[in-house]
């Protein structure tokens, strides 16, 4: 087994990277070389400039990425704003309806987003919010997973810390912001990664509520780009796909340990 380990791992790595590498290869070749399947030639700077130039002009690629950043950061901001106090209350405070709320959180964990898409679409349409930033953000501002993770985290914080802070005269809000939030940083980091990956890559919901290129998020932008006339300019298409995938991949490469730990923490 040990003799075959690295050859097998290298083969697997090559297969895993193949689509990405091939896309990169195609994005550096002129159209006639691609169609003529003459790709194992030298890449030309002209072709690279042409393909990537075409990709960013044929459709508002940077607009898609900007939308993606706006949508993801707004969702994350509201999610954290809501889940931290809720998780704390569920873990450490007694109040009427606590068990019901916890039941709701567990139910929310089990219901996948696509199930809610239909009624949410009806609500968005009725409110006249189609093709708007709120339509992309609002439905996801409360995260059951986030509340769940925060509650589990706060339950492990010893009561003594909270009692000491109260004796020191901190208000509940100060306690949360000044004492507990710094402790929760790893959990928040893990959640942020889960949330960013999920919402950056989300195609289903945007394809329901977005109708214009101005509002398109990156995956929906890919879909638009593909169906445009530039969709047959393969070099440009691949360049566009790579540009779309790049921000998250770059973040992953920078923080890869935290990404993987964060996603495992989802368990």
């Amino acid at each position: 087994m040990s003799r075959w380990r690295h050859p097998l791992l290298i083969l697997a790595a090559a297969l895993m990277l193949l689509p990405i590498l091939w896309a990169a290869l195609v994005s550096t070749r002129p159209q006639d070389a691609i169609i003529g399947a003459r790709l194992l030639t030298m890449p030309s700077l002209d072709a690279i400039a042409a393909n990537y130039g075409r990709a960013v002009t044929a459709s508002p690629l940077f607009g898609f990425i900007g939308n993606g950043i706006a949508v993801c950061s707004l969702i994350l901001f509201f999610q954290v704003l809501i889940m931290v106090p809720a998780g704390y209350a569920l873990a450490k405070l007694r109040f009427p309806g606590r068990e019901t709320l916890w039941g709701g959180v567990l139910l929310g964990l089990m219901v996948p987003a696509p199930v809610l898409a239909m009624p949410l679409f009806v609500m968005v349409a009725m409110l006249g919010l189609m093709d708007s930033l709120p339509a992309l953000v609002l439905p996801w501002v409360v995260s059951s997973l986030g509340i769940f993770l925060m509650r589990q985290f706060f339950r492990r914080v010893p009561d003594e810390i909270i009692e000491a802070a109260r004796l020191d005269g901190l208000s509940e809000l100060e306690l949360l912001v000044r004492v507990l939030l710094p402790l929760a940083r790893p959990t928040l980091g893990a959640f942020a990664i889960i949330s960013l990956v999920a919402h950056w890559n989300e195609l289903y919901w945007p394809s329901i509520v977005v109708t214009s290129a101005e509002r398109a998020t990156p995956p929906f932008g890919v879909m638009l780009f593909q169906t445009q006339e530039a969709g047959t300019e393969y070099g440009a298409l691949m360049a566009g796909a790579l540009i779309i995938a790049l921000p998250l991949v770059a973040a992953f490469l920078l923080l890869q340990r935290r990404f993987i730990e964060g996603l495992v923490a989802m368990k």
């Binding site: 087994m1 040990s2 380990r5 690295h6 097998l8 791992l9 697997a12 790595a13 297969l15 895993m16 990277l17 689509p19 990405i20 091939w22 896309a23 169609i35 003529g36 399947a37 809501i82 106090p85 809720a86 209350a89 405070l93 007694r94 109040f95 606590r98 709701g104 959180v105 139910l107 964990l109 089990m110 219901v111 696509p114 809610l116 239909m118 009624p119 949410l120 679409f121 009806v122 996801w140 409360v142 009692e163 109260r166 004796l167 509940e172 990956v197 950056w200 195609l203 289903y204 990156p218 995956p219 879909m223 393969y234 566009g240 995938a245 998250l248 890869q256 990404f259 996603l263 495992v264």
Partner: protein, 298 residues
């Protein structure tokens, strides 16, 4: 504790818990529970978005859906897709994790590469796959032709379209499965391996069944459930690469719901299919929560 309760001001209008958890509760009611009730209710009416006031029709929608051949076909397609992706990603993920577990060098690099497909936007990567599989100048067909093997129009052929989507699904999910297996393998006590060697189980296979398999079984079950949930919800590759075709060969459940609900606006049909879909995902979700908790997260 009682001292503290006395020290805290008693006469607040609302318990602090309600103030802190209130926004979450309200939004959950509005954005999750409400819609859930709405979609279940819609499944028992003849409501069409933009149409007339809905009438209660009992189980008519469910009867119609179950009798509908297209729907039956889509359930079957989803099941076939799931049965290809889940075992594929599970076994490959386990295999890679085991290879990586024993590797001294390059572990981080390999792990990063294997996990990359799970992070890279699947919609964008679908386009890259389309290029690989292009019937005339994709490298797959070029390679097969060079070897004198038959080529295919992979995404336009009824026989190959779904397996190809499943292959992309496996490519996407393997790294995800691997990460969990790697964590589980790393947590197997080395003492147990040593004990097995002294007890006479030197060979890799014997030791795998005696030491490793029992230890990773709970994780494997968890990964199985999560992968199944992912596979049942496949949408991106279908929407980008086949649009459910050719014929109905890749018309998976979520794509049916998408078409019925958001292209044809047959709200009641989409709602009924959603309830059916909900039943599956809720079952998986409950299993996931159970297994995840047992795995030590909660």
């Amino acid at each position: 504790m009682s001292d503290l309760a006395l020290a805290a001001p008693l006469s607040r209008p609302l318990p602090k818990g309600i103030l802190l958890a209130g926004p979450a509760a309200l939004l959950m009611l509005l954005l999750q529970i409400g819609p859930l009730v709405l979609v279940v209710c819609a499944a028992f009416t003849d409501w069409q978005l933009g149409g007339e006031a809905p009438n209660f029709v009992g189980l008519d929608n469910f009867r119609a859906l179950i009798a509908d051949h297209d729907f039956q076909a889509s359930v079957l397609v989803t099941a076939r897709y799931t049965l290809m992706v889940v075992p594929g990603a599970l076994l490959l993920g386990l295999g890679l994790a085991m290879l990586l577990q024993g590797a001294r060098r390059g572990r981080t690099v390999y792990q990063t590469i294997f996990f990359l497909p799970y992070i890279a936007t699947l919609a964008a990567m679908s386009i890259a796959w389309q290029m690989l599989l292009h019937p005339s100048f994709g490298p797959v067909n070029q390679g097969l032709a060079a070897l004198g093997l038959p080529v295919a129009n992979w995404l336009r052929d009824e026989n190959t379209a779904l397996p190809v989507l499943a292959l992309i699904g496996i490519w996407h999910e393997t790294g995800f499965a691997m990460v969990f297996f790697l964590a589980a393998l790393t947590s197997v006590p080395t003492e147990l391996h040593d004990a097995a060697r002294i007890d006479g189980l030197g060979g890799g296979w014997d030791r795998f069944w005696l030491v490793t398999a029992p230890h990773i079984a709970p994780i494997a079950l968890f990964v199985l459930v999560v992968l199944t949930a992912h596979a049942v919800m496949v949408f991106d590759t279908v929407a980008l690469l086949t649009q459910g075709g050719p014929g109905n060969a890749t018309r998976v459940l979520l794509f049916v719901i998408y078409q019925e609900g958001f292209s044809f606006f047959r709200t009641n049909v989409a709602a009924t299919a959603t309830v059916f879909f909900l039943a599956i995902t809720l079952t998986l979700g409950m299993l996931q929560l159970r297994l995840g908790r047992r795995g030590g997260a909660a």
